[in-house]
Symmetry: none
């Protein structure tokens, strides 16, 4: 069993436009043991889609088409597939009702054009869309072959794939099993990660190892194959254990947990509450903490203190500090964390002050200079950083550093 | 004249593998006025390559194949193209000599397998490779159509394209210029946007119109062509003006400005300062406001009040409201905005309370229920929303609705 992926949309053929759905699907299919034999991007054109679909069916039993399922007249994937496979379309009243209910829940009547989304080629199974109006379709052609239509927005495609497509693939996969393991690392540059672990992975073909970096985070990805899921997992397990030993506490997750999830879990298990005082990150750290469902069990409140006045009034930072050492200083970070902890009555407070750029830097205090302070019942600890990149990257790096400082403190508490 | 790009190589179909040559070629072709109509990735397979090439020639006059020109047995692009186009192959002695010289310069005899790289389909022009052994090929089919073979390594492909392909395109490209315009819309669903504007764009081929939706935002993209940049821009300008008329204040940018940038500009021009009180968004709105460089000129501080206690202490929300109407209510949103505005001494305060999910919903107050309140010197206005999707989508939708409420207020102020 092999797969093909056809992404549909004029906009995907424009310059500087990334097509991320096939990256996602290729990975998920690899995990299910199904290799991709063909990938294509085609515009919103009935004939072109039909032609590419026939070509794809020539080299793959399982063809995914993504995008072009919306309600508007440039969304032609359903029509094109029905025509290419000579299938009639039927109006599915259940889908009409579901779409209408979705609109009514928002207090809006369903526009007439949305009825197009309820057309189903004969023999097709509807895949419910939990996050949008366009349902997906699973069209079995015979015992071995199927055409699968998925919506273009990744936020709709991903849950639909996991919930409704993945379970159908189990039986289609060949007997080669894949195991993917990701080590997520904070506090080390990509090149330092490489230097620490190269002795362990160079020359090892199975698992294969790749290293990917983003602002404030490095991913080491291991992909193993084996005759059984257990064999593949064991191969990954052996190398992963070696790498984790070499990387130590810099590895914050081997299970695709975000840093804010790891921090949330540690807070919860230790019965502690956290607060945040943010200057340059402007709310990003609190927003990440509250991205975790259930975060209200350890997070009550936080403040964004952008101006000096706000730092004084909300956090009790002494006015003289601004004249003497400036808002971006160890002393102000220290005072912000102390004031935030006292003001919120929290066990742990983390505070950040720095220069996000692109303006506001100087020779002594360049763009990217950041102080992160942590206040706990052990006292206050301040760390100084110099981060690279533009405004949004400096904000992201800072949020990583702040969450990591909290994580290392809580890990140490747990150990002690 | 349109182009198609076919990337060849089993390795390009593996997970976590990026295919960057088509990104490069798409950009360079756009600069030359040649749009890409089709893109594909196919394995090292003679039949598959031939089949995709025929399909590509059906929708593009200029087909690029990248990769598979090396000396080893899995490099089959040359063979596949010659077979698909029924062209004989001839050994080019000049190429043999050039490859041999390249090896001898490194003090290594040329391996026999490299002779394969000197096979040229009849009628093909050889494109010299300054950075590797695999020459490229430019195969004219007739006055209007050509097939171009380029080596896979980007370090070889890029100079070859610039030096030997780009000069040939000048004559192929029609003197066609492109103009792209994007209308960014808030407060309307994708299908409502379509219904409002379809009478204006259906049947218009130039510019072409596509509609794309993400959480809380819809993009209408116009792509016009013309004999000069001015002609293309004028065509977009005419349709864009019609669409903006139909969509009214729902269009927040025709210049790719984010909502937070538009709000920032309005605040700055009116000399007003803003503050935020966030419950379910947990800091996201403030973080977006401070994503804009220079936001300290209109933003001093904000609070995240996640718990009821924080809403009472930080914002003065009356305790009795939580028992009587609950934290997610018009009344609490109202009190939050009022308290935030007074506490920060700001001109404009926006407050949000709602249920981000996935837990915490009920029949009366389902996940996605959100109240947004705006406090200004005109008083307080509260709007109720029911947003779709998961936790991060509900947060995103809410931040869009809050920033939009501020924008509409400031627009009205400017008008009044």
């Amino acid at each position: 069993m092999k797969a093909a992926i056809v992404a549909v949309g004029d906009e995907l053929l424009a310059p500087s436009r990334e097509e991320t759905n096939s990256v996602f699907l290729t990975e998920k299919l690899a995990e299910a043991g199904i290799p991709v034999a063909f990938r294509a991007v085609v515009g919103d054109d009935v004939e072109a889609i039909g032609d590419v679909l026939r070509s794809a069916l020539g080299r793959a039993g399982l063809v995914f088409l993504t995008g072009g399922l919306g309600p508007t007249s440039d969304d032609v994937t359903r029509d094109a597939v029905a025509r290419a496979l000579s299938l009639d379309m039927e109006l599915d009243e259940d889908i009409v009702r579901a779409i209408r209910a979705r609109f009514e829940a928002r207090g809006v009547p369903m526009p007439d054009v949305n009825v197009r989304q309820a057309l189903v080629p004969e023999g097709g199974d509807v895949l419910p869309n939990r996050c949008g109006t366009a349902p997906g379709l699973f069209i079995p052609l015979d015992d071995d072959r199927a055409v699968v239509l998925l919506p273009g927005p990744p936020a709709e495609l991903r849950p639909m794939f996991s919930e409704h497509v993945q379970p159908r693939l189990a039986s289609k996969a060949e007997k080669l099993h894949y195991d993917v393991r990701k080590l997520w690392i904070v506090g080390l540059a990509e090149s330092s990660v490489e230097q620490k672990i190269r002795s362990a992975y160079i020359g090892v073909d199975n698992p294969s190892t790749t290293i990917l970096a983003s602002a404030g985070q490095v991913e080491v990805r291991l992909t193993a194959t084996g005759g059984s899921p257990e064999e593949a997992a064991a191969k990954n397990g052996a190398l992963s254990a070696k790498l984790e030993g070499l990387l130590g506490a810099n590895v914050f997750s081997a299970a695709e947990e975000q840093l804010e999830e790891v921090v949330g879990r540690l807070l919860l298990s230790q019965g502690k509450r956290i607060t945040v005082a943010e200057s340059l990150t402007g709310g990003l750290i609190a927003s990440r903490i509250t991205d975790v469902s259930g975060s209200s069990r350890y997070f009550d409140e936080s403040v964004v203190t952008y101006s000096n006045e706000a730092k004084m009034e909300r956090l009790g930072v002494p006015e003289e500090l601004f004249g003497r050492v400036g808002a971006v200083s160890e002393e102000v970070a220290h005072a912000m964390a102390t004031g935030a902890r006292a003001g919120a009555g929290a066990d742990v407070a983390v505070a950040v002050t720095g220069i996000a750029g692109p303006t506001g830097g100087s020779t002594e205090k360049p763009v990217g200079l950041v102080y992160v302070a942590l206040a706990t019942d052990d006292g206050v600890r301040v760390e100084k950083f110099q981060f690279p990149g533009g405004r949004s990257q400096v904000k992201r790096w800072t949020s990583q550093a702040a969450l990591n400082l909290v994580r290392l403190h809580l890990l140490h508490e747990r150990g002690g």
